[in-house]
């Protein structure tokens, strides 16, 4: 039987948002953009970012809602933030 996901019910009627993930392995490294996650709220975004990007033991990690980013050079392009 095909699994049908009712996004309205299962995501609580919220429109999922993208969160950009930044991290560094140690204090000598700059905080670097490592990817993004989609989530309906910051709590779920925090958990998903931590579990998805667990390829290093990060010294520091933070997330920023994509909607909070004001683009300068990438204005009008498809991606607001590019992974380096």
């Amino acid at each position: 039987m095909k699994k049908i996901i009712d996004r309205q019910l299962e995501l609580g009627g919220d429109k999922p948002e993208f969160y950009e993930v930044f991290a560094r392995r140690d204090s000598a490294e700059p905080l670097t953009h490592i990817g993004s996650v989609e989530a309906p709220n910051p709590e779920l975004a925090e958990a998903r970012a931590w579990f998805v990007y667990d390829h290093h033991t990060w010294r520091e990690m933070c997330i920023v809602p994509l909607s909070a980013i004001v683009t300068i050079t990438e204005r009008g392009s498809n991606s607001k933030v590019k992974v380096v």
Binding site: K3, I5, Q8, L9, E10, L11, G12, G13, D14, V37, E38, A39, P40, N41, P42, E43, L44, A45, E46, A47, R48, W50, F51, V52, D54
Partner: protein, 256 residues
């Protein structure tokens, strides 16, 4: 910290501590089984990855605690391969399988919160520094498990038809079974192994739950025949069908 080779030499306090660690580790073992069984229901790739990571985390924590039971002369082999359904000491909360995605989310929230609350009592233990460090590490890792369930609760609640609050109310009563009746003798606390008595930890748990759900005043579990050694009412053990789902099966595939 000394290693005790024979259970006959265990002091009363050591026996109670061993029993409580069994209960915490078995709770993590069964919770890992829950994540394993629900894994394919993850709502997105990131969700699937998160459930997978939480499952892995719970298995790791359970095995680390089982390893610590070696202090009481219990071997990993004995703990993982010789016990049946009647000897697993996980909380009653995890006996009943999830009835829906919302019930799953409410249950893992209660279970993660209950286990973390109980472990928090060991974080500053001076009587067993190895256990204190282990508890601290587990608590740091479990923080993200709680974020996951709280995030889902908030998302589900946006739907007026959501049943997550009703599911949580039912599961809260089951979760309280883990603490039994307040004001009973607590040798693990009085001997200095734990820095808070069970009654305080129960209150700490209710306060933490109250930050996410409404907790009715004077809520109590069903206290009939609570036994500290298994931290539950009634007969020991978990349902046989749950055990068959979560038990380790292929010994030749097991990691040493």
């Amino acid at each position: 910290m000394s290693v005790i080779n024979s259970t006959e030499r265990l002091s009363e306090a050591d026996q109670f501590l061993r029993d409580e660690l069994y209960c915490i580790a078995d709770a993590k073992l069964v919770l890992a089984g829950w994540y394993m069984m629900v894994l394919q229901n993850g709502r997105s790739i990131a969700d699937f990855t998160s459930i997978c990571a939480m499952m892995q985390g719970q298995y790791g924590h359970a095995r680390a605690l089982y390893q610590h039971l070696g202090r009481f002369g219990v071997t990993l082999d004995e703990v993982e391969w010789t016990r049946g359904a009647k000897e697993i000491r996980s909380p009653k909360l995890l006996d009943r399988p999830p009835q829906s995605w919302s019930d799953f989310v409410a249950t893992i929230f209660m279970a993660e919160q209950a286990i973390s609350t109980q472990l928090s009592g060991y974080r500053t233990s001076l009587a067993d520094r190895t256990l204190a460090r282990l508890a601290d590490k587990i608590l740091k890792e479990s923080r993200f498990h709680l974020s996951y369930s709280v995030g889902w609760i908030k998302a589900l609640r946006k739907d007026p038809a959501s049943t997550v609050d009703e599911d949580a109310r039912r599961r809260l009563v089951e979760a309280l079974d883990w603490w039994g009746e307040p004001d009973q003798p607590d040798i693990v606390f009085s001997s200095g192994y734990r820095d808070a008595p069970d009654s305080d930890l129960r209150e700490r748990f209710l306060k933490a739950v109250g930050e996410t759900f409404d907790v009715p005043d004077g809520i109590a579990g069903h206290v009939r025949s609570w036994q500290r050694s298994i931290r539950r009412n009634g007969a020991p053990g978990i349902p046989e069908n749950l055990f068959q789902n979560i038990r380790f099966k292929n010994r030749e595939l097991a990691m040493p």
